[in-house]
């Protein structure tokens, strides 16, 4: 039974990993070798030539792509925490109807596919003078994180005993201080979950940066950069595989190193229904 389970897990693991193996080994091969010997690891087929070419692609500076994407991830996460946490606190501590409606409003936002918003948002941002700018993009991405954050945070805060707030208030702390210094520290697990989720969604987002950050902004993220670099050469595998590998490697390495925290962090906050 145990052997059967192990065998099954082995087969599944291979199925999961084969595409990644192919991505890695074929990033070091010529087109003909990729097609005729995709699985081969023979050293005389391997060359770093194409990887170097992908790294020095003048149209897609991968380092810049990373810098921009990381900047977005940090800004969106920070802004999302700053905005979503306090409002969730108020919502979960007030029983009055307006606040219940407020929660409902935010939660309704989780059911709106972001592509539906994307087109009208172009005009909203244009009206605000924020189209093709970092603040415009970050504000929209942050807004997209609000519904689920508020839903998760307010549920979590309602499990924190009110006596803590009351103690703080008696001690003369205002609402802000009570929240940031007493309640917020206790929200660490759920905030961690949300940060992981938001990091994934900003990191992987393609449609939003593609449309909201036009050519005049001079900005591209990893995904939009890849789309421009790979989309036009989709069958020149000596461009496709090395470029994809460069894009995939850093998040994968980060994942391997942090996997315990990422998977753990996702589960802790997420079970809070």
């Amino acid at each position: 039974m145990k052997a059967l389970k192990l065998g099954f897990m082995g087969v599944v693991a291979v199925l999961m990993l084969v595409p990644m193996y192919l991505l890695v080994v074929n990033a070091f091969k010529a087109q003909q070798d990729i097609l005729t010997n995709p699985f081969s690891l023979s050293p005389d087929l391997l060359t770093t030539e194409y990887l170097v070419m992908a790294l020095s692609n003048p149209d897609f500076d991968i380092v810049k792509g990373y810098a921009v994407t990381i900047l977005f991830v940090v800004l969106v996460n920070a802004l999302s925490i700053l905005l979503a946490c306090p409002v969730s606190y108020v919502i979960s501590r007030r029983a009055r109807r307006p606040y219940r409606l407020l929660l409902l409003l935010f939660v309704a936002g989780t059911f709106i596919p972001s592509q539906v918003l994307l087109i009208p948002v172009v005009y909203t941002l244009k009206f605000l003078g924020l189209m093709n700018s970092i603040p415009g993009f970050v504000l929209f991405e942050t807004a997209l994180t609000l519904p689920f954050s508020v839903f998760l945070y307010s549920g979590y805060i309602s499990t924190i005993p009110r006596s803590l707030d009351e103690a703080a208030t008696i001690d003369g702390a205002g609402v802000h201080r009570t929240f940031w210094s007493v309640i917020f520290p206790l929200m660490r697990p759920v905030v961690a979950t949300m940060v992981i989720l938001n990091t994934f969604s900003v990191w992987n987002d393609f449609a939003n940066p593609q449309i909201l950050l036009g050519p005049s902004s001079g900005l591209y993220t990893i995904t939009t950069g890849i789309y421009a670099a790979v989309g036009q050469y989709s069958t020149d595998y000596t461009v496709v595989f090395p470029t994809l590998l460069l894009a995939a490697a850093p998040p994968l390495i980060a994942f391997v190193l942090l996997q315990r925290y990422i998977i753990g962090g996702l589960s802790t906050g997420a079970v809070k229904g």
Partner: protein, 425 residues
């Protein structure tokens, strides 16, 4: 989490917020800066949205505009590839208020014209190719570099010799017979591909020989609702479907990218490749292992000699109406469409033609030019041109409809599909 940690977290978050705000300030200034119109328009950056293909690489475009930059100190020309295509990118950029100054590839139509600069009063536009046909409501918005011949069939001369075909087919029946012979000789007779345009474009290039032979004013008649595109195409759709069934066309062609398909042809696996004249440049660069020949797509009635040739404007340029660099943009378009060296460079790179600029043609290119000049009439194609033009998106729809012949639809259903799309747009 201890309080000091949380305080530090808040501090970090605040700092990041401040960075965001300052970024906000600079970003805002940037965008307002580039949006402001420069009255003199003589220096600065001109943004050109271009079509990037296997032939027309980004490096090629930079080379083309280099002499212009050299002649205009303080001017940079920024080449922006349309992703995924100019056709899809332009409306998005117009909507976003991020429109380029110059747009390559598209001809003005009724929707685009109001967004573009009227170039009618520029004296130099009169001598550019197909300029009268491209007019919208009597005004010139797009100016081209050359002419592309569309209805061409490129073929593997070795394959024809091996199949015992001594003379290029001049009627559709001869063409069909040739397909059978090269198949018997072990070749895939016709190479096509899936993707966003190739299937439909190749079909139209074949079909239009027949359609235009029967009615040179076909586009005008479709617009006047005297005929419908689906019904006109139906006989050819039926033939095309039978070719798929007989294995003259690869039933898995849709999985092939339009960029890979030429390579298949150059490797000698397929005998024929239907494509416009830009394929001359692709073939010259693709170094096929066999001599490549070319003939005009044959019509079902009459023969090739009597069939009008479908043509299109090669590299049409437009200037956007709200550009802040009006004079510079117009100057650039003038350079691109009238400077002899610039014209030659562009024509050669994409295998296109222009009267009076014939040098530098490859032997295959010269053959295509002969076909173009021999044609009794030139009909703007596909979708038409200027005011005589099918609804925008017709090509994309035709492409999907022709592809659905591969996925099991009947020719009659496809014809009906094309007509219902046309009626609802």
């Amino acid at each position: 989490m201890s309080r000091s940690v949380s305080r530090r977290l808040v501090a970090v978050a605040t700092a990041v917020g401040l960075v965001a705000l300052s970024a906000c300030g600079s970003g805002f200034e940037d965008s307002s800066d580039s949006g402001s119109a420069q009255a003199d328009g003589q220096t600065g950056e001109v943004r050109v949205l271009v079509n990037v293909t296997t032939n027309l690489t980004k490096e090629f475009w930079r080379e083309v505009v280099k002499p212009f930059e050299d002649a205009h100190p303080g001017v940079t020309v920024k080449i922006e590839p349309g992703t995924p295509s100019v056709k899809e990118a332009l409306p998005r950029l117009l909507a976003a208020g991020d429109a380029p100054d110059v747009v390559e590839t598209l001809n003005a139509d009724k929707t685009l014209a109001p967004q573009m600069l009227d170039l009618s009063d520029q004296p130099w536009v009169k001598d550019t190719p197909l300029v009268d046909e491209a007019e919208v409501d009597g005004k010139t918005y797009s100016v081209g570099v050359g002419v592309q011949a569309q209805n061409l069939v490129f073929y593997n001369k070795d394959a024809f010799a091996k199949a015992g075909i001594s003379k290029a087919p001049t009627t559709l029946d001869e063409f069909e017979a040739a397909l059978g012979k090269v198949k018997d000789a072990g070749y895939l007779p016709l190479r096509t591909a899936g993707g966003g345009w190739a299937t439909g474009t190749q079909f139209a290039e074949l079909a239009d020989a027949t359609v235009f032979s029967r009615n040179p004013d076909w586009y005008a008649d479709v617009l006047a609702k005297k005929t419908t595109p689906g019904q006109s195409y139906l006989p050819i759709l039926e033939r095309y479907k039978s070719w798929i069934d007989k294995g003259y066309l690869d039933k898995n062609a849709l999985g092939l990218d339009e960029k890979t398909a030429p390579a298949h042809f150059f490797q000698g696996k397929s005998a024929m490749y239907v494509m416009g004249s830009w394929f001359v440049a692709t073939a010259d660069a693709g170094k096929p292992s066999f001599p490549v020949g070319v003939f005009a797509a044959p019509p079902a009635t009459g023969d090739s000699a009597s069939a009008p040739m479908g043509v299109s404007v090669a590299m049409p340029y437009m200037v956007t109406k709200n550009t802040g660099k009006k004079e510079l943009a117009v100057e650039l378009v003038k350079y691109l469409t009238t400077d002899k060296a610039a014209i030659q460079k562009q024509l050669r790179q994409d295998g296109n033609f222009r009267k009076g600029v014939a040098d530098g043609l490859s032997p295959l290119g010269a053959e295509v030019q002969a076909l173009l000049e021999a044609a009794p009439k030139q009909v703007p194609h596909p979708e038409g041109l200027g005011s005589v033009r099918l609804p925008a998106g017709f090509n994309t729809e035709l492409n999907k409809q022709v592809q659905s012949l591969y996925t099991g639809k009947s020719p009659a259903d496809v014809a009906a599909g094309i007509d219902s799309w046309t009626a609802s747009h």
